[in-house]
Amino acid sequence: MSPKGDRGGDATVRRMDRTQHLRQKPPSALPGISPSRGEIGSRHRIKPHHKDVHPRMQTVLSIAIDALAYGMVLFVISIGLSVTMGLMRVVNLAHGAFAMIGGYLASYVTRDLGLGYAPAILIAVIATAIIAVPIERLLYRRIYGAPELTQVLMTIGITFCVIGLANYAFGPTLKTIPLPETLSGSIDLGFRAIATHRIFAIVCGVVVAFGLWFLIERTAFGIRLRAAVDNAPMAAALGVRTQLVYAVSFAVAVGLAAFGGVVGAELLPVEPYYALRYMVTFLVAVSIGGAGSIPGALIACLLLGAIDTTGRYLAPEYGEFFFYLAVIVIVTLFPRGLAGRFK
Amino acid sequence: MSLFEVKNLRKNFGGLAVTDNVSLSLAPGDRLALIGPNGAGKTTFVNLVTGHIKPDGGSIALAGEDVTGLKARQRVSRGLVRSFQVTRLFADMTPQEHVALAILQRDGKSTRMFGRHDAMREVVEEVGEILNLLGLTELAHLKVREIAYGQQRLLEIALAMALRPKVLLLDEPAAGVPQSETARIERALDMLPPELAVLMIEHDMDLVFRFAKRVMVLAAGAVIFDGSPQDVTQDVRVREAYLGSYANAGSAA
């Protein structure tokens, strides 16, 4: 069966190696323990960990923290997309592009202008929102209510342009956003260390979730927005300036994207292909949460974070499998998303 | 034995009985109108009968077969066909294609992957007859999005006829049609095969009186009247249901 070329031989070698490494899974330090993956958490404790916490417990806790941090970063970036998709009903594949613009701006502001992290976030968010205004007026306004496929085409086109321009303006290398002293270290949680920055991301997620909920559910603007979404002609008849409401919502969504791009840059580094590389992840998060729902997006991101993190820990080589299988199962069970507000 | 038999049909939404022990039976050739004030549960009743929602209790039988557990499309293929209150047509297709599709589906040929419907002689002939009967021949090749609403309603009836049902559920066949054109709808309804059992849901009382031989009145999910069209306006409970509901509406506004 094996072809004569070396390539086939090479493949055979690889396969052999793989079975070997599986066979050798239980390290010699702990003979007699089943190599089943489920046991990993309990195996090979060589170094003594923190005394008060049971080793297995430590691992579980540790994974939980990682999952929370990752999920929150996802949330911060995707929530803006949830707004455009759910409230404005645009399949906005260019969301990542706006997050990326935010990242680039923050990087420029910190590295080249020498300003601090906080002003960088502020400038990135505001400037990205400002950039988005003409784009909304000239391009997005044309595709509100258009068929999904048209929206896909337009927003992919925008994404391509942004990628090309970023590549041209900033070059293809990675751009970092230096963290301030207070965020750059690690915090010892007793049983493990966690990057301070991740705690910051979690806090940001909570703040964004609450702020957005407040904006939409508790302010006059939120009432107008919901009215414009539910029934635009009726809202207009009642004196709501729907065009303005849409423009502002879009700017808010884009601002959130930029915010997420900056805060999440430690995990999803800024480079020209950022816009395409993570597009699927954001789409999945929004769709599972149910477009337009803040609690839905939050739950979805935490859930996806948990699945991803646990999968990566237990069986990294099947991490992708777990993730996408879970996506299929969740979507099949909740075809409208975990908390779909609109269809 | 009757052709179509609904027994003690019940449906609750959040503790509210929307359909409350409704029973009715139809024989071939029956023309029954189901009327009732807004919110009486007519739409729910239609959806229960067609199989779009599941009842909490009761049974539906068609030609002696219990169809309560069947899916909507399975009921259709057994001869229980409906029309829609708001037309549901294929905007980019022509009346000819609509009717041909219904005929092909009825004959179990709709999944044939070769041959064109307009090259199949029997199909073309039957489509021609039906469209002719309803006066739609002229429009046969226009897209549905290009024809007037009243004519779209006629096409709905044409589709129903093409499926050759045993029982036909007409959900407000004249809804949205300008007064000047209701006569055409009435004429179309007159052309339905005599042996067909028809259950019509309708607001327009003129149409009901002209079409139906029997009237049932639904209020708050329950049947409050079942009798001849002549008697319905005299019935105390019917008057109360209608006028009462108007009175309520007035006070709420």
Partner: protein
């Protein structure tokens, strides 16, 4: 009766449409051969991609299913044809093509069963999940697929025992054109058949289709299987002409690009799919040869321009424009 029929219902048969299509494909094939005798490999790649885009048109344009995961079916066909050649010594090109079609059909069935469980955005996400799963499986099964190094060692006999697959890519090109012609004719028959009409009905209003007594799910699933066979033929053609199959043929990127090509050309007409593929790939080739470093910007701008000025796609908008002019004359 026949007389009556003629008088009441003017039949408007247009087998002409298909004939024109055949003529255009043949003419384009020959012109392409003479105009670009040294770019036959590129032209063959366009033909293979065209088959993929046509297959997307079947589910998207005719059934209304949005998918960003159709490369799964294309890749299944490519790997199917490649694996039987590289591992089982089946090197007869026609057999390889048939196996590719079968593999694509099976992949179509599998992904159809998954994707048709939702609508709208969640459906889009399911399709993405499916193509990623296929990609992962192919990456894992590197003993069979060569993993990320690509499946090499694919050999092909001479076509019909007469025409070797040569450096110039002539045989592969003409084989591709022949496959395209056959597929096009079959698909024209399909979309004009009762089933094709039913599928269009599903796209426009599934509830009405169900009210006629037809099973919407079964229509879409059948179409998915057919679509898989078409995509599989495209994949097999790719495997035969390239002699290497890479993971890219199962990728999200390829799915997305193919969908873009379809929407660019216009959905639901078969012609739009072909026009879109040729325009996009030709444009990409020209622009990226002229400036390989920044062509993406220009492609992006093209997409935006198309949405703004030809919202039904290149073919769709042109056809609408022409019929409006003709309609005005009548």
């Amino acid at each position: 009766m026949a007389v009556l029929m003629d008088s009441t219902l003017p039949t408007r048969r247009r087998p002409l449409g298909t004939l024109i299509g055949i003529a255009v494909i043949i003419a384009a094939g020959i012109i392409g051969y003479f105009l670009f005798p040294n770019n036959l490999a590129l032209l063959t790649r366009i033909v293979a991609t065209m088959l993929l885009v046509l297959s997307i048109d079947l589910v998207t344009g005719y059934c209304g299913v949005a998918t960003l995961g159709h490369a799964a079916l294309f890749g299944a066909g490519a790997y199917g044809a490649g694996i039987v050649s590289a591992h089982f010594g089946i090197t007869e090109p026609l057999t390889m093509t048939l196996i590719g079609a079968a593999a694509g059909a099976v992949a179509g069935l599998v992904s159809g069963l998954v994707i048709l469980r939702a609508h709208g955005l969640p459906q889009l996400v399911l399709s993405i999940a499916v193509v990623h799963l296929f990609h992962e499986v192919a990456n894992k099964a590197s003993g069979w697929t060569g993993g990320s190094d690509g499946l090499s060692g694919i050999t092909t006999d001479a076509l019909l025992g007469l025409f070797e697959f040569d450096l110039w890519g002539r045989t592969a090109y003409f084989y591709g054109i022949a496959l395209l012609l056959i597929v096009f004719v079959l698909l024209r028959i399909l979309v004009q058949s009762p089933f094709g009409m039913l599928a269009r009905g599903v796209r426009e209003d599934p509830i009405r289709v169900a009210a006629m007594g037809a099973s919407v799910h079964s229509v879409m699933l059948r179409m998915y299987v057919i679509s898989g066979a078409v995509a599989g033929i495209g994949g097999a053609l790719n495997a035969i002409s390239t002699q290497v199959v890479g993971l890219d043929s199962l990728s999200f990127t390829m799915s997305a690009e193919a969908l873009v090509m379809l929407v660019l050309g216009g959905t639901g007409s078969l012609y739009g799919a072909m026009v879109g593929t040729v325009s996009f790939m030709w444009f990409e080739d020209v622009v990226s040869a002229a400036n390989p470093f920044h062509w993406l910007t220009i492609v992006g701008a093209l997409l935006i321009v198309v949405v703004l000025f030809a919202p039904k796609g290149l073919y769709g908008s042109a056809a609408a424009f022409l019929s409006r002019r003709r309609g005005g004359g009548k």
